[in-house]
Subunit: 327 residues, 2 copies
Amino acid sequence: MPVTIRDVAREAKVSVATVSRALSSPHQVNQVTRERVLAIADRFGYRPSPAARSLITGKTGNIGLVMPDLANPFFTGVLKNVQARAHQSGYGVFIGDSDEDPAVEEELVRSMAKQVDGVLLCSPGIKDSQITALAANTTLVLLNRRVRGISAALMDSAGGMRQSIEHLSALGHRRIAFLSGPRNSWSNKQRLRGLRAAVEQTGVEVHTLGPFAPRYSGGVQAADLALAENVTAIIAYNDIMALGVLARMHERDIDVPNELSLTSFDDLVYAAVSAPTLTTVAMPVDAAGRLAVDLLLSRLADPGSPVVHQELPTRLIVRGTTGPPPK
Amino acid sequence: MPVTIRDVAREAKVSVATVSRALSSPHQVNQVTRERVLAIADRFGYRPSPAARSLITGKTGNIGLVMPDLANPFFTGVLKNVQARAHQSGYGVFIGDSDEDPAVEEELVRSMAKQVDGVLLCSPGIKDSQITALAANTTLVLLNRRVRGISAALMDSAGGMRQSIEHLSALGHRRIAFLSGPRNSWSNKQRLRGLRAAVEQTGVEVHTLGPFAPRYSGGVQAADLALAENVTAIIAYNDIMALGVLARMHERDIDVPNELSLTSFDDLVYAAVSAPTLTTVAMPVDAAGRLAVDLLLSRLADPGSPVVHQELPTRLIVRGTTGPPPK
DNA sequence: GGACCACCTACAAACGTTTACCTATGAGTT
DNA sequence: AACTCATAGGTAAACGTTTGTAGGTGGTCC
């Protein structure tokens, strides 16, 4: 029923080879033949079968993207840009949501492997050794994670943490709580790394609490624990948790920022529209999405091309939730 | 280099047919042979080539999803559930973001068509006739849009609008503004339909303004226009616009809800965490995503199965932005 | 006028599966 | 003992492309 290359060939009174070449290597066929063939292909609404094509060429024209949570705007920000850049380059995008389960992440990559030319993996949970194993069979590029031998698009969250602590320290805060996210998440580790460095440099006291679920409810829960620590400022793992903290403080009649300062990470839409607006570290999700695709495509174009770990800068955006500590 | 069915067959000393059957129709092969074959396939890490398989069977095991904006949490809410349900049923998901451009939407569907078994289309912009044309070559299921002859998962936004107007009317509002979204968007039309019905029933006066961009900036812009209309309540096209309205009202020192009431649609995360919290119509995105997949899969299982238009209920969630009009 | 060449186009193999059809084996029936 | 029949597994065609190789045409050069 669907129209094949043979139908076009018959109508154009040429061989299938000529039709194929007219479409994929135009200079190899006489111009008048080519135009006749193309006209007929167009008239018939002919579309080459990707399955047949990929069977013979070994290329699919697709890339895969595996993420821990499609409900999180941080990841969909990356997704949006990945899809845009891929589309621009003529690639389709396969999507997989692992629901934060490392086992699912691995299985997703494996099941995608044969239908895509390469995979973008954003997987905080999975182990380095597993990633290396996956990379043996698939062209991989990592997002927000550094594993040797595999290209990666990174965001400098450690730097963001440093900026946050410097900011709070400059305001006069001396006791700060960090509400930690998932313990083995890569970006959580990065933040802790930045934290230690900044602590050393500024001499402020930072209490790490948690881990908490990186969600609204996690923030609500963390808020009370942080208060019990008697701190004057809180750094939340991400904006969503910060909103939870904010809501809980409001309930407990604690004035942010006058009694307590609050910062976080991500700078999602609502960071700018909550009340008070959130001081937060903007993550370069857009650039990271595009960069990841570019890294993958250049790896595909030339598998011998060098492995690149490129880190994109973060920026602390000071808004309404931070101020000097109470006297 | 990659291991094929032939490698497994050779090692197991059986024909490729037997390997194929051991994997896809186990009861057709003797248990001891089957187990031997499976063990070897497993040991070799054999994965059938989807291209070859799909070439012969005509099935891909994938579905496509085309949406207007992956940055909008409303759509990614659907996406998350689509992917989850599809994964559950062993299907992969191809994603396309049209950036609200109808031409891109159509092209995305066409270019996906051959690599998926069916497409879920969430496309407010494209014309009915184009959809019908697409449905001729592809198994389609629509999201939030009703076209005869094509199954659809719908959300009752008209009902949501009715609930909103009844709520405002009950509070005593008599002059209301509706901030319209994209003019030819299907859900905007639905909302207008609900609006007319509710106006007729309750007798309140509703001024439709716009269209506005369904974004934060659109809300900011719309806010001033609405105030000029001298209304006591505003119904925004969606939450994001409502946040824009809220911000602008705050700037102009207008007290919500005491001087002005505000409602909207979607009930995204931040509706519950803005200040004041948003009264809004919750859309059943989760259920809609799952339903859409189910409709598509049942259509794929039996192309003769009846076309279904299933409408999911919406619910007005009353929070902080609505109250009685000023005396 | 024959040799060489450039240019087109056709032929056919190959990609990795699934599946219709056929054969071989052995058990059960008469 | 001959027949039927179920079961297991092999053979080979088919799916729709791409691409290496070969053939055929007409022009240019000696």
